[in-house]
């Protein structure tokens, strides 16, 4: 294992120190591993927090700032944060208008956020609403599993719900916007390599030079199917067709097309993939209203990519275009 770290057990702590040093507009509660807006809480504004295991950067800490999240809780690598952390974050961002918890659908995340919401209600009486993302079409038989995983849609949801909160909308409306994003978004990913968890020191799974794993999640958990390595064109089809069929997306639907790197794939390859994805969408008559290309929800050093489509109406598009100022997303300001 070659990693730019001091010690495996200090990775999360050291990275939080780095975020604090690099971004003076953010503060860090190191005891609780919570990144939050230094200028908060904002009276009368709905607070939005999220969180999850570390290793997905810039998700979630890189999305804290104006027009997006008010706070993010960093768990251990690939491990959900604990209820104390979400409780601390909820207190830090509550400006009296309630707090939205954005939770990715993983068993641990859901349970820990649930316990945090129970504690927050008991301790502070804070009005907490949770929205769970579950956009991964790779999980097919979701009635027999823990359900679909929350992946790429989480990034788009945090941006769009963040804009709604910044406009001063009440909690129920912000949550409604968030649910609408999740309902209209679908994703799928593939891996070219495993990732290596620092504390483990070796790849989580073995993948041959001529193999790829289709339908991976973002924790190095193996996907649904192992296949021979294919061209970007073929990969685009393997990812996009199941997404299109699932919602389904129809001719003349307007979408955000989000091509995401999983951490170890260079941007030039993401653009190669984006071009193939855009061609398929164009063949289906799906209109790409906005695009996002880059590594925004990652799996440490895993090579690979995911595609997310979000069907837009005028409201979601306006909220997407609204100003945002965070370490990882920044426009309109």
């Amino acid at each position: 294992m070659k990693k730019l770290i001091n010690a495996p057990e200090d990775v999360v702590t050291d990275a939080l120190l780095g975020i604090e040093a690099a971004h003076p507009e953010l503060s860090v509660d190191h005891a609780h591993k919570v990144i939050y807006r230094a200028d908060g809480p904002h009276t009368g504004k709905v607070g939005i927090i999220s969180g999850g295991g570390s290793g997905h950067e810039p998700l979630h800490g890189g999305f804290v700032g104006l027009g997006m999240l008010d706070a993010a809780c960093a768990g251990e690598i690939f491990t959900s944060p604990v209820p104390d952390q979400m409780l601390a974050a909820t207190k830090l961002v509550d400006g009296g208008a309630g707090v939205l918890h954005v939770v990715k659908n993983y068993t641990g995340d859901v349970m820990n956020f649930e316990m945090a919401a129970e504690l927050a209600a008991a301790e502070t009486g804070a009005n907490v609403v949770s929205v769970v993302t579950d956009d991964d079409v790779a999980v097919q038989d979701s009635t027999w599993t823990a359900g679909r995983r929350g992946v790429g849609v989480t990034v788009l949801l945090e941006k769009i719900a963040g804009a709604a909160a910044e406009q001063g909308r009440p909690l129920e409306q912000v949550a409604g916007v968030a649910r609408s994003v999740n309902a209209n978004g679908r994703s799928m990913g593939l891996a070219l390599t495993s990732c290596t968890v620092p504390a483990v020191g070796k790849p989580t799974f073995e993948l041959g030079d001529d193999e790829m794993e289709l339908g991976v999640g973002i924790h190095g958990e193996p996907g649904r199917e192992r296949r021979s390595l294919a061209s970007a064109k073929e990969c685009a089809s393997l990812l996009v067709e199941p997404i299109l069929a699932d919602l389904p997306y129809k001719k003349d639907d307007a979408v955000i097309c989000f091509v995401n790197g999983l951490g170890g794939t260079p941007l030039i390859e993401l653009y190669v993939l984006y071009n193939e994805v855009a061609t398929i969408l164009s063949n289906h008559g799906v209109q790409v209203a906005r695009s996002l290309v880059g590594s925004y929800i990652t799996s440490l050093d895993m090579a690979g990519a995911s595609v997310t489509l979000l069907r837009l109406d005028d409201e979601l598009l306006k909220l997407w275009d609204a100003p945002v100022r965070t370490p990882a997303l920044r426009w309109g300001i």
Binding site: G53, G75, E76, I77, F78, T79, S80, P81, V82, P83, D84, Y106, T107, G108, M111, N112, E114, M115, A138, V139, Q140, D141, W144, T145, A146, R149, V197, A199, V200, T204, F205, G217, H219, G220, E221, P222, G223, R224
Partner: protein, 214 residues
């Protein structure tokens, strides 16, 4: 059967569990790498080490206080699904064990039942889902059966531990329906569940620590 387990004996159970997890943390992580995300050993070990530190700092005076502390510490330090699940197990165990010492094996079994009910409420697991439930439920059934046959701590916990191990082994052929392993579908078959493995260690630790309570 007038004697039973004291608060100190019960703390020995927790300490034995911490030791067993420490001894087996690489195995737990390896099992988790096959069908999960390769962190079960590290997470449980971190949580139980934190429990040991917490018990050094402040000795809870009664069995309920002991298990409340163990449960809250695990919830705060383990993360993942195991934190809320093991945390809830110990919190509910503590809520049901009662202040009175010594604790009879029947009261221990009833408290463990309350803990298992808490795990089910939190995790919504059903039999055969390939989870910690599949080790704990047979252990509880064996414990109850042995106690109603008139067995004491030693025999009852020995049977419970052996049932937990059989339950753990039976998870190998199960199709995972909960947690991250469920995403693998059929590919989860053929792998032993890490949660059932740590749960079997919990029961084995009870046998090791409490067998001599007469």
């Amino acid at each position: 059967m007038s004697d039973g387990a004291t608060r100190t004996d019960l703390e020995q159970w927790v300490r034995a569990f911490a030791q067993q997890v420490d001894d087996n943390k690489d195995l737990l992580t390896e099992l988790d790498a096959a069908i999960g995300d390769a962190d079960h050993g590290a997470n449980m070990d971190r949580g139980l080490k934190a429990v040991l530190v917490a018990l050094e700092q402040d000795q809870p005076a009664t069995p309920p206080a002991l298990f409340n502390k163990v449960g809250m510490t695990l919830v705060s330090t383990v993360g993942g699904a195991s934190g809320p699940l093991y945390g809830t197990l110990f919190l509910r165990f503590g809520g049901a064990i009662g202040d009175e010492e010594p604790v009879s094996p029947a009261r221990f079994a009833a408290a463990l039942r309350a803990g298992l009910d808490g795990v089910v409420a939190r995790g919504k697991a059903e039999p055969g889902d390939k989870t910690m439930y599949d080790a704990l439920a047979p252990a509880l059934a064996a414990l109850d059966a042995a106690l109603s046959d008139g067995a004491g701590w030693d025999v009852a916990l020995q049977r419970a531990s052996s049932a937990a191990e059989s339950g753990r082994d039976a998870t190998i052929e199960m199709l995972a329906r909960k947690g991250r392993a469920s995403y693998l579908g059929e590919r989860s078959i053929g792998h032993q569940d890490p949660g059932a493995t740590s749960a079997a260690l919990l029961v084995a630790a009870a046998y090791a620590a409490l067998r001599d309570c007469a």
